[in-house]
Assembly symmetry: C2
Homo-oligomer: 367 residues x 2
C-alpha cells in the first residue's frame, strides 16, 4: 500500500493506493475508524458498482449505523436534484453532523456524494472509495465536488475535502475498456502539464496500461495523485495555478455539454480537448506539428478519440464558442485556456489569438 498526503493544514488527508485495499481495510477495520467521527455512515453508490462492491463496503462499516443509497449510473444523472435521494436518506434517518458519507464509485458518484456532504447540515465528513481509473487519478482527489447545470458542467458545487481516499486498484479489473481509456486521458494530462519523462514512460507503457498490468497501473496512479496533491496543496480553491489541471477541460466541457451529458465520456472529451489545445498551440508556434503528432499518437494508443464523434449530435463552432465563454475559466469576460509550450510544459493564458481559436474550433466542429 502506498500512502500519499494532500497537505492542506487542518484539512489534510491521506490517499491510500494499492491492490485489494478493500480487503486489507476489511481485515484491519480499526484503520478506517480513524477517519470517522460519529457512529453513522451512508454509503452512496450506483446501479453498476453496488452489485460488485457494496456488500464488502457494508461489511467494512458493520460496526456503524449504516445505510446505503443507490443512484442511477451516468453523467446525465449528475444534476442538482440528483443528490436529493442522498439528502432524503440522511434526513429520514435523522443522521447528525457527525455522519460520514462514503462515495463508492466513479467520478459522478464522488462529485455528487461530496456535494451532498458539503451542504447537509452545512457540511459533514466524507470518504472517497473511487472504483474507476478516472476517479482514482483525478476526481477523488482535491475536494472539487458538484453537479452539472443544463447550461454548463460542474457549475453548482463546493470545495469540500474528503477525510481520506481509498484507491483499490483491484476494482479496475471490472471496469469496461472505454472507462479505462477515459481514465488514461487524465493520466496523459499530468504528463503534458509538467513531465516530459512521464510522457515518454506513457508512450512505452501504454500497452501495459491498456492491458491492466497491475504494476503499470499502480505507477501511473501514484504519479498522477502525487502531481495532483502537490498542485492542490499549493492552490486549494483555484485562485491561480490549480487551473493548470484544466488542460483539455475548457474544450472538453464544451464538447460534453454540446453532445449532451453522457454521450461522450468525460475522459474522451478531455482527450479531444487536449488535441484541440495542441492544435491551437501549433497555430501560435508554441509547439511544432511533430510534438502535436506525438500527443495525438499517445492519445490514440490509449484508444481515445482525437476528434469530436460525428455519429452523435452535430456540434457547431458557434455552440462550442458560446459554451466555452460560459466556462469557469472565464474571468471579467476574458477566457483563460491551458495551452502547451512543449511536451511536459503547459501554461495558463488569456493572451491567444481569437482568430486562431476560431480556426481550431472550425477544424474540430462537426456541423
Amino acid at each position: 500500500m502506498i500512502t500519499l498526503n494532500v497537505d492542506l493544514d487542518e484539512r489534510s488527508y491521506p490517499i491510500f493506493i494499492g491492490d485489494n485495499l478493500l480487503n486489507y481495510f476489511l481485515n484491519n477495520k480499526n484503520l478506517i475508524s480513524d477517519y470517522i467521527k460519529g457512529k453513522q455512515i451512508v454509503i452512496v453508490s450506483n446501479e453498476t458498482i453496488a452489485p460488485l462492491y457494496l456488500k464488502k463496503t457494508l461489511e467494512l462499516f458493520s460496526s456503524y449505523q449504516c445505510k446505503s443509497v443507490i443512484l442511477p449510473d451516468g453523467e446525465i444523472y449528475k444534476t442538482y436534484d440528483g443528490i436529493l435521494p442522498i439528502i432524503n436518506c440522511l434526513m429520514e434517518n435523522q443522521f447528525d453532523r457527525h455522519v460520514t458519507l462514503v462515495a463508492l464509485g466513479g467520478g459522478v458518484v464522488g462529485d455528487m456524494t461530496g456535494f451532498a456532504a458539503a451542504i447537509y447540515r452545512r457540511g459533514v465528513n466524507f470518504i472517497q472509495i473511487p472504483t474507476t481509473l478516472l476517479a482514482q487519478v483525478d476526481s477523488s482527489v482535491g475536494g472539487k465536488t458538484g453537479v452539472n447545470h443544463p447550461l454548463g458542467k460542474n457549475m453548482i458545487g463546493s470545495f469540500h475535502q474528503p477525510q481520506c481516499v481509498i484507491a483499490d486498484t483491484n476494482t479496475l479489473k471490472t471496469l469496461d475498456d472505454r472507462q479505462l481509456s477515459s481514465g488514461i486521458a487524465e493520466v496523459i494530462k499530468y504528463a503534458l502539464i509538467n513531465n516530459a519523462s512521464f510522457f515518454n514512460w506513457l508512450l512505452n507503457n501504454m500497452d501495459a496500461l491498456i492491458n491492466r498490468d497491475a504494476d503499470a497501473l499502480a505507477y501511473a496512479i501514484k504519479f498522477s495523485c502525487q502531481d495532483k496533491a502537490a498542485i492542490v496543496a499549493a492552490d486549494e480553491k483555484e485562485q491561480g495555478q490549480r487551473a493548470i489541471l484544466n488542460l483539455g477541460h475548457t474544450f472538453g466541457h464544451a464538447i460534453e455539454t454540446a453532445l449532451g451529458y453522457g454521450n461522450c465520456l468525460h475522459g474522451e472529451a478531455v482527450a479531444i480537448g487536449m488535441v484541440m489545445a495542441a492544435d491551437l498551440s501549433v497555430r501560435h508556434g508554441w509547439i511544432d506539428s511533430d510534438t502535436q503528432q506525438k500527443i495525438i499518437e499517445l492519445i490514440k494508443l490509449a484508444s481515445l478519440p482525437v476528434q469530436i464523434p460525428a455519429e452523435e449530435k452535430q456540434v457547431s463552432v458557434q455552440e462550442l464558442s458560446r459554451l466555452m465563454q460560459g466556462d469557469k475559466k472565464v474571468l471579467d469576460g476574458q477566457l483563460h485556456l491551458v495551452l502547451i509550450n512543449a511536451l511536459g510544459n503547459s501554461f495558463i493564458t488569456s493572451e491567444f489569438d481569437r482568430t486562431k481559436l476560431e480556426q481550431t474550433l472550425e477544424t474540430f466542429s462537426t456541423k
Copy 2:
C-alpha cells in the same frame, strides 16, 4: 453610521448600521466598490421588498452589469429548488466567478442568496442588505446560509461569509408590526444569553422599540450585532460555543416545521421556544419562576406569543419530540439544548432530565 467588524481573518467583513444608509452609499458609490471584485452584480429580492427598494439598489450598482431576480415572499419558498431562479439567472448571463450577489430583503432572501453564492461555480461573493429587523440583528451576520428540507429547518446549506452587511434602519419603517416583533425576539435572545443589563434596558425600552424609535432601534441593533460578531469570530463553524445563539431555536425550529413553514414567523417560534427553555430551566431549579415570569413579561411586551398558536395545525408532544431529535444540535444521539441559569446567563447542555423535557413539551403541545 456605525461600523462593526466580524473578525474572521481573511474572511473578515464590516457591518454598517445607520439610518438612510442606502442613500448614503448612493451618494458615495466608491465606498461600495471596495466590496466588489468583478463587473457583474445580481440583486436578489422578493415581491414585497422589490417595489420598495429595488430601484434605489439598482442605482447603487449602476456602473456594473446588473441583473435582478425577484423571489416569491415567504419561508415556504425557502426550499432547495427555490434557489434555482438565482442559479439560472447567473448561468443564462454567463456570469463568472467574480460576480457578486446582493441579498436585498429579510432572512429568507439572505439565506437563499447566500446559499446560491456558496454553490455557484463553487463559491462567489455576496453582500447582505437586510431590510427586516430579524435579518439586521441576526441572520445577515455570521455566514449561515441555507434552505429548509420538508423534514427540518435549515438542513441544507453552507457557511459562507458575506463581503459586507449594510443595515439601513430606515427600511424598518416599512416593516409590518408582526415582522418587527419577530425581529425583537432575536434581540431578546441576546439579552437572555449573556447580558442582564441589556435585558433590563429592553424592559424599559420595549415601548420605544415597538414604536420604532430610531435611537432605540439603532442601539438594539448595534448591541445585537456586536454580540453576534464576537460569538461568530470565536467559533465560525459552530464547533462549540456558537451554539449558544440557538437559545429558543431547537424548540422553535420544531414548532415552525410542525406548523408548516410560514404559518408562524421565525421570531415568533423562537419567542415560544425561549419560554419553553425557561419552563424547562425552572423544572430543573436552574431559574425560579419569578425569573421565568420576567422573561414572559418581556416577550409579551414585544407583542410576541408565549405559547404555540392553537388556531393553526395542532401539535403533539410526539411530533415536537421527533422534530427536536432531528435538530442540528443532536450529536451522536444526544440532544443539546440551550437552557437558562439566570437572566443574562444561558448555557449549552445535554444533561437535562428527559422526563422534565417531556413535561415541558406536554405543557406547550396543543394536541
